[in-house]
Each structure stands twice: as structure tokens, then as C-alpha cells.
């Protein structure tokens, strides 16, 4: 073993991914199935845009895979989060609970509603929202009036919680469902990263009122750009189909739009890619889980970092494999990032806390965001493409 901790980490990652020519990205899409056939079919038939059978097929495929009643395809995950809040009734000057430790789109979509993100802490065990801490915080800082939750300090209504399954690892979603019920807060699962991840045998995204998937280029399956909203509630599903398609009332030729609508439709061309990707999703998951087990073994008993393993009762898609620096070694993060990237192995830290970004510094937040702050400094995502875990 080398004496330099960062060099040792590099060596271990390299021992798992092997000596490969060229750049090894964090997560590379794979198009070796029916992608070209389905896309060619769109072009041959002329159905590339917002109406087409692949959109339907993709939605039905997502329903079957996740076990949800309704999947509504949308143009991307951010659009999905926004539409989800609109139909749940998130209003101007409401507050929405958002983990400080997540991607910025979540907070942005809250602002699109004219509401404010209210940042809460995560826990090390899941990298997601800490249910115990949240309950204690809400107890102290909110009051219930007419079955609605109000922030005592700002007097604003707290209408929803966005709970994310970070890097594919399920948050303690059953606990969060309970907390949300206790405090009359609606629950949206940000499942952008967790297609193929399960909590107690049930697919993530099937616990909250609504959930949102992403099919951006770096996700476990991709449609180029795209997303979907999941719900078991038929009324919400109908509303979502309506407002994401410009709120047009069905009529053979008249243009009647009965509320402010959005152009959040997923084009058929992109859905075609999604249909092909969905067919091979199980094999992606198998390879990614195999890769994760290789990393897990390779980093066992490492003095500097530990490999984030799925929690008991959960099954993770291991979308992005994650190293966590131990408390005493936070200082070597940037050196690991530099060494690995210089060696053509793409690695990156997690997001900066949204609560610290200039557009959001003045938004309400838990005084104690200590775990989120630790995760911000401690996490390194490492190469996770399915092909690295070929069995």
C-alpha cells in the first residue's frame, strides 16, 4: 500500500474498475437494446412529438415496473417536481420542507410555485431526511391550525415535504409518511435517482402522495431529457395529465384551456428511448449491484473512507456509488478528486448545501444542519456505469 491516503483510494477504485483506455465517467448511458429501432420507428412514422404511442407505452411500462397506479411522463424531473406541487396545492408564500442536502432543482421548483424552501437536516444512515430530527423540529417550531401546519416564526403554511432517495438509496420513507401525517404535511418523494430501489419490498415513489422520477442523461435509464410523476391517486393523476398538457379541454377543434397550464409533455421520440431502456433496466440494476459489491469488498476496513452500503430492509439501485470520508480524513477529499480525475476516473463531491447558495441563504432552515454539512464535505461519488459491473 502507498503511504498517501488519496493514492490508496485511487488504487482501490482502479482495482475495481480495471485498467481501461480513456475516461471512465460517473454514469454512462448504455444503448445496446432496442433504442435505435424504436427511435427509427418514430422517424419513419412521423410521430416524434407530444402525441404518440411510445409515451403511452412508457407510462404503462413505468406503472408495471414500479407497481404504481398512474405514471405521467413529463419533459424532465424539474418539471415533474413543479407540477407535483401545483396539483398538491402548494401556494404562493407557503413553505416546503426540502433537504439542505440535495440537488438545487428541488428548491427551484418550490420557488416556481412562489413558495419558499425550508431546509431540513439529513442523517448519515440514509443520506436522506432524518425523520426523528424532523419530528422534533416540527414539534418545536410549528403549530397546527385547521388541519394545516404553520411555521410559528414566519407564520407561513408548511404545505409539503420533498423527501429524496439520495443516489438511489431509500430514505426512511415509512417514518416520514408518519411524520407528515402527524403534522398535516403532504409528502412528495423525489425519486429522481431511485428507479429500481425498494423500501421493505415496495418500490420507492409509491409511499408519498406523489413521486417524481428523472431520466436525464446521467440517470439509471435515460430519455435524453425526461421525467415522470407517479401516484396511486386517480384524481391527482387526471389533474397532472391536464395541467402538464396546457390544460386543454377535450374538443374536436376548439382551443379551450380552463386553467393556467404548462407545456411539460415528453416528446414521443424521447419516450421511445425510454421504452427501450426500460426493457433492459433489470440488467442495469443487476450489474450496478454487482459493481457495488465489488467496491464494498475492496473498501472493507479502509482507514480513510467507507463505502455506502444499502440499509437493511432496502434494496438500492446503487445509481451513484458513494464513498464517505471518515471524520478525521475530510481534508483529503480534494486530493482524491484531483488524483482520480487526473487518472481518467471521474469522481465528484456531492452538492453544496442548497441552504448556502446565494438565492437561498435567507430561506428558513433548521439551526442544526450538522449531518448535511458533514455529508457535503465527506462524500465522493465514484464511477458507477453498469458496464463496470458486467457479470
Amino acid at each position: 500500500m502507498s503511504k498517501n491516503p488519496a493514492e490508496e483510494v485511487l488504487k482501490i477504485i482502479r482495482s475495481v474498475v480495471g485498467n481501461r483506455d480513456g475516461f471512465v465517467p460517473l454514469h454512462e448511458p448504455s444503448f445496446r437494446a432496442n433504442e435505435l429501432d424504436y427511435v427509427k420507428d418514430c422517424i419513419d412514422t412521423g410521430w416524434v412529438s407530444s402525441v404518440g404511442s411510445y409515451v403511452e407505452d412508457f407510462e404503462r411500462g413505468l406503472e408495471k415496473f414500479t407497481g404504481i397506479k398512474h405514471a405521467i411522463a413529463v419533459v424532465n424531473g424539474t418539471a415533474g417536481l413543479h407540477a407535483a406541487m401545483v396539483v398538491l396545492g402548494v401556494k404562493e408564500n407557503d413553505e416546503v420542507l426540502v433537504p439542505a442536502f440535495t440537488f438545487v432543482a428541488t428548491a427551484n421548483s418550490v420557488r416556481y410555485c412562489g413558495a419558499f424552501p425550508h431546509f431540513v437536516d439529513s442523517e448519515k444512515e440514509t443520506m436522506g431526511v432524518d425523520p426523528q430530527k424532523l419530528r422534533a423540529y416540527l414539534k418545536d417550531n410549528t403549530e397546527i391550525k385547521n388541519f394545516e401546519c404553520y411555521n410559528k416564526k414566519t407564520k407561513r403554511r408548511i404545505s409539503a415535504l420533498m423527501a429524496m432517495h439520495t443516489f438511489g438509496h431509500p430514505v426512511k420513507i415509512n417514518e416520514l409518511v408518519k411524520v407528515c401525517k402527524e403534522f398535516h404535511i403532504k409528502l412528495i418523494e423525489d425519486a429522481a435517482e431511485s428507479l429500481g430501489s425498494y423500501y421493505e419490498g415496495k418500490h420507492t415513489g409509491c409511499f408519498g402522495e406523489l413521486a417524481v422520477l428523472s431520466f436525464n442523461g446521467n440517470k439509471i435509464i435515460t430519455t435524453g431529457g425526461g421525467g415522470a410523476i407517479l401516484t396511486n391517486d386517480s384524481v391527482l393523476a387526471d389533474r397532472l395529465k391536464h395541467i402538464t398538457k396546457t390544460s386543454k379541454v377535450s374538443h374536436p377543434w376548439e382551443f379551450i384551456h380552463d386553467e393556467v397550464g404548462f407545456n411539460y409533455r415528453l416528446p414521443n421520440l424521447n419516450a421511445a428511448l425510454g421504452c427501450a431502456q426500460l426493457e433492459v433496466l433489470p440488467s442495469f440494476i443487476e450489474k450496478k449491484r454487482n459493481l457495488a459489491s465489488l467496491y464494498q469488498r475492496a473498501f472493507e476496513n479502509n482507514p480513510y473512507v467507507y463505502f455506502f452500503n444499502e440499509n437493511e430492509g432496502t434494496k438500492s439501485n446503487y445509481w451513484l456509488n458513494t464513498l464517505i470520508l471518515k471524520e478525521d480524513f475530510l481534508g483529503i477529499r480534494d486530493e482524491i478528486l484531483k488524483l482520480t480525475n487526473a487518472d481518467n476516473l471521474m469522481t465528484r463531491p456531492a452538492w453544496k448545501l442548497i441552504s448556502s447558495l446565494s438565492p437561498y441563504v435567507s430561506c428558513p432552515q433548521m439551526e442544526d444542519l450538522s449531518c448535511a454539512k458533514y455529508l457535503e464535505k465527506a462524500i465522493i461519488n465514484i464511477p458507477s456505469s453498469p458496464y463496470l459491473g458486467e457479470i
Copy 2:
């Protein structure tokens, strides 16, 4: 000639488009060029998402075609309108002048900014905003304070005008530029329908501060779903590139976002389609103009309708060919719609006035919207696909 006016109109349309098997849509996309090759290239290389060379190529191609300095590709036209207003500084509780006679997305995008559409009348000559009427109206109903225009009645600032080139026919854009300057109002051209249309030799979309194109499936070229923002202003262009890509600050690995951003990026897969379509756009325009001249001749001296021909000094892409019912024959519109659609010729009326839709009835509007009301009742769009005008 038949004695039934609607039957006569049907016969004339049929005489132009010929006896064809099956349904003749309003505007069908054509993919006989490099579409499949470019899309295949995305799939083969794995670059399908928001980063990729086709996005760059498409933007540069649009710049070259229109003669604008900067084109910024976005996920659709609605997103483009929204982003355009954000960078022009349209704020909550502002008003934005919008033709009552246009597609609802324009008003929706105003509401996304928290601003209110303020509906203005069109003129028969262009089907677009009437500059004389607008000037007179602004003179009577607004006041200028600190080089900004205020609605005397609502006290709200009027920050912008959205001027649309309806069905591809250029509005009197030079006159509107003058009115906007006089009243310190920013001008956004809604060029969603007018790619390939020129006003006094200059491409539509090159007159206002910003302009927005659409590449929806029914447009003259399509990317499945997509749009672009055009501007000659480098500062606005930089701002647009930033906020449409989540406002991420460039850094090798850190996630820093310095303002509320949007996920309005066009995926590379869709841009690839756009690149191929742009190559054959000149031939589409040629065929569409030929089809329009056939319609023009066929409807010459018709007692019931006239064919909308391009105005002097303009060159139209004739995106959607348009019949206008003469005053005395407004009553036969629905019969024409029924007969033609029953005969597999797709026709449709224009939009209902946005000012009459439930989400917008209480928004400010000109008392006299008489021309818009006439156009709403008088217009029938008829089949316009390039293949119908093959030369």
C-alpha cells in the same frame, strides 16, 4: 359549382390537395433527410442528453439561417417565452401586452413570472397586433414614470409586449418597435410560427430585444419538442444560457448555482433531429409557398372566403394556410369544419381569444377587441404540409 357554400369550399381545397388516400393533416412533419443518421449518431456515441455537439450545431445553424447573433436552444417554445421574460426583467405584478388572438402559451408564460397578460387587439391585414391601435390605446391608458410605462388604471408597470407573427405571417414589426420605444416597453417577438418568414428582407425574430421559436411537432421544422431564443444582445444571450441551464457556475466539480435557475435545456437527441430538419428547411419553404400560390389561385374571387396572402414587403413561410370568411358568411364556419374533416381533410378554427378563457377573463384588456373577435370567428386553417406543394 355546388349550391352549398361549405361544399364549394371543400371542393376547392380538394382540388388543390388532390385525391389522396387517408387523412390529410394540417401540417405533417417530413423526415426524408439526415434525421435518422444524426439521431443514430447520438445513440451510437451515447450523447443523447443536455450536453452534445448537435445542440451547438443546431444553435449555430439557426444563427446562420436567421442572421441573428445568438440562438439559445431550449426545451420548448413556452420555456423560451418564460426565460425571455425573466432576463428582460418582467417581474411579479407587472403587466405584459399580449394579443388576445394567439395561443394560450403566451399568456401562461406571463403568469409563470407572476405578471399579468394585458390583452390587445389585432388587425386583419396581418392577423397580428395593430400598431396604430396600440399606440392610441397606450397614449390614453398609460403614463410614463422614470422611463417606465404604467397602466393608469391598475397602477401596474407594463414591462413588455409579446408580438406574434401569426401562422407565419409577419406582423408590422417595425411599427411595433417604434411604439415600444415611445412607451419604454420591451419587445419580445413570438416567432414560434415564423421560422423562414421575413419582414422587409430581414428574418422575423431579429427586430425585438428577444424572439422565441418553436419546434413542436406541428411546426415548419421539428425537434419532437423544442424551441430557441434569438437575440443580438450578447449580455442577454449569456444570461439566457445561464438560467436555462440551472444557473450553474462553471467549476470542475463543485455545484454552485448563483440564482434561481431552470432546467430548460434541449436534449442532444432532439437537437440532432433539428440539425437535419434545418438542412432541408429551404425546400420546405419553397414547397409551402408553392402550395399557398395554388390555394391563392383556387380561392380567387370566391364569394364566401378569401385566402390570406402575404403582405407587401413581407415574405411568409405560409406555415399554416388560412382562409378568412367574409363578414356575411361567418355562419358557415362550423359546416366547413365538419365537411372537410369528414372528408379526411384536417381543418380547424383559430384559437378562442385568450381574454375569454376562464383563467384570464379578469385580466386587463382593450375595450375594443373587435378585430380579434372577428378573426376568432372567421379563420379556418387548411392543410399545409410541404408534400402537398411538391414542385
